[in-house]
């Protein structure tokens, strides 16, 4: 601040102009490709539009018919189950992996990098590989066989298809959150654990009393990021199960695509987009709150 006072007034104005010039392309981009489309979606949601004739205003008809539509209700429910299931498992698995890696053992870093590969290989390859692995004759059943499991139809059973997709999601994303947790674990001062050990605290007590409370902010961040990530999932159910069997894995993003591009009902698709947006808005508002709080320290 002291140095800034030394700058002359015209110079300060020049800096502001530079700042605007640096920020302007990004702001313009987001106005055209994010806010513009969202406003348009809100408008389209109240119309019927097939791209051939002009949009026709239908009021809340799209929303009213969606609320009666069992397919939409199922997709909304699937999305919620998927978000809740994936996020819970992701937190547990990622934290467990991070704690397993948090050692001085030689080669731990190499193991971390190797596991991270599941997070960067193309998601299309992930989907194709797992479609084969989850086949009744596939590797998953072969590995489970010795433990007394029979031939399980992972992808064609209405009860198991969603858990299978959630499993693939965890395999794909847990290593990312593992790295986030690991960075946080490394920031916990070793003295805390040493002092606790001297007081005779066992491993479980140390985990519950030191690790978990100190990890709480990071865990909250992980939950929110994971929820936003899962809310928009498309390719995994689209490719692995095609939304089936019987719509058991059809999520909202798939319904938007089908409604808009297979049935050309742009207005109805926009109405579903508004619902998905509302879900993401709820998570984002919580995140903004947290961010604002962290900026104040």
């Amino acid at each position: 601040m002291a140095a800034r006072a030394g700058l002359s007034v015209p110079y300060r104005w020049r800096l502001r102009l530079w700042a605007l010039a640096f920020v302007l392309p990004t702001v313009a981009f987001f106005l055209v490709f994010k806010y513009g489309p969202m406003l348009w979606a809100f408008q389209l949601a109240f119309t019927s539009y097939d791209m051939l004739s002009a949009p026709r205003i239908v009021g809340i008809e799209n929303f009213a018919s969606l609320s009666r539509d069992p397919i939409f209700r199922q997709a909304l429910g699937n999305t919620c189950v998927y978000i809740a299931g994936s996020t819970t498992l992701l937190v547990v698995v990622a934290l467990a992996l991070a704690m397993a890696l948090n050692t001085r053992v030689r080669g731990a870093r190499l193991c971390m990098s190797a596991m991270f590969l599941t997070n960067i290989m193309p998601i299309i390859a992930v989907c194709l590989v797992w479609r084969f692995l989850l086949h009744p004759h596939g590797l998953v059943n072969q590995l489970l066989g010795p433990f007394g499991f029979g031939r399980i139809d992972w992808l064609t059973s209405e009860q198991l298809a969603m858990p299978a997709i959630i499993g693939v999601t965890v395999w794909r994303f847990a290593p990312y959150f593992m790295v986030v947790f690991l960075a946080a674990l490394l920031n916990i001062p070793a003295e805390y654990y040493e002092a606790a050990a001297m007081d005779g605290a066992g491993g479980v007590t140390r985990f519950l009393r030191i690790t978990l409370p100190l990890l709480a902010p990071v865990m909250f961040f992980v939950v929110l990021v994971s929820a936003l990530l899962c809310a928009r999932i498309f390719l995994m159910p689209f490719l692995i199960t095609g939304g089936g069997p019987g719509g058991a894995t059809r999520v909202l993003s798939m319904l938007i695509y089908e409604t808009g591009f297979s049935y050309m009902k742009m207005g109805r698709a926009a109405a579903i987009s508004v619902v998905l947006f509302a879900i993401m808005l709820a998570f984002t508002l919580v995140q903004m709150r947290l961010f604002a709080a962290s900026e104040e320290d």
Partner: protein, 278 residues
């Protein structure tokens, strides 16, 4: 940094065994993909997986590439990924620097405006974004494929958080020495941002190389297909052996792994330091 994890005994190589076993289990699907791509087509659905092919079939690769216009699909994907990655590097750095170190009226509002777009991914705005690109006459074109992906709010946020940690004194000193803002950015700020730039590069590259939904929505002509679209169609045609599909999947995986390996050292620091603080 030193001594922070000395709470665990240095177990040497012995402690590595369970960790290595865990890593092996986690990476098993990747190993499966690699060996299957050299397998004979009819071996795919045997009751037990043959991990090491009894006969290797490297010809799966040229055969797969020849079955569709995969070289063109890969070229399209490469152009898109390089474009999107460069766009993110340039624009996220500029905006991140301005939001971190240059005060200007309305900077809070701009920051919130940018961060809020995290809740507007393409999956949500698909229909109107398609209609806009349609109005621009950008369907089946590189502009259309790259355009809506060019800047991601995550990148702006990442760069801002990272640049915030660079001492303002360095920047002020350079300014008093008469350096312009571009020179400050290039010579003072960027050299200290390598870890953040590495994180930004790997995610921007991965997400654009991976992109499926957007090309699916706007591409209708074969010469504009990206490799994910080609790969899905490849699987839908009967008579195409899945082993050859795995060969294409392996080829698609290599570029991302190479980028990851090249950036690994900087990435490790990037993940640790940026801490992705909530």
């Amino acid at each position: 940094m030193s001594g922070r994890s000395r709470r665990f005994l240095t177990a040497g190589w012995l402690g590595l065994v369970p960790l290595a076993a865990l890593t092996f289990l986690v990476t098993l699907p990747i190993i499966w993909m690699a060996t299957t791509s050299f397998q004979a087509g009819e071996k795919m659905f045997q009751l037990t997986t043959e991990w090491i092919p009894s006969v290797w079939h490297p010809e799966n690769y040229p055969n797969a590439l020849a079955r569709a216009a995969f070289p063109i699909y890969f070229l399209n994907s490469a152009v898109i990924s390089v474009g999107v990655t460069l766009g993110n590097l340039v624009f996220c750095t500029l905006a991140g620097y301005a939001l971190a170190k240059l005060r200007f009226p309305g900077d809070r509002v701009v920051l919130i405006l940018i961060l809020s777009t995290l809740m507007l991914p393409l999956e949500v705005t698909l229909v109107p974004t398609f209609l806009i690109v349609h109005k621009f006459h950008w369907l089946n074109s590189y502009q259309g494929l790259v355009g809506p992906l060019l800047i991601d709010a995550f990148g702006v946020f990442l760069m801002r958080q990272f640049i915030l940690k660079i001492p303002t004194d360095y920047i002020e000193a350079a300014r008093i020495d008469g350096a312009g803002e571009f020179r400050i950015l290039w010579q003072v700020v960027l050299p200290q941002c390598r870890p953040a730039l590495a994180v930004l590069t790997i995610f921007a590259f991965r997400d654009s190389w991976d992109q499926f939904l957007w090309p699916l929505a706007i591409v209708s002509r074969d010469e504009w297909r990206t490799y994910p679209l080609g790969l899905v169609r490849f699987g839908e045609d009967y008579g195409n052996p899945p082993t050859e599909q795995m060969a294409i999947a392996v080829l698609a995986t290599i570029p991302v792994f190479v980028v990851f390996l090249v950036l690994q050292r900087a990435l490790r620091r990037g993940f640790g330091l940026s801490g992705l603080k909530g």
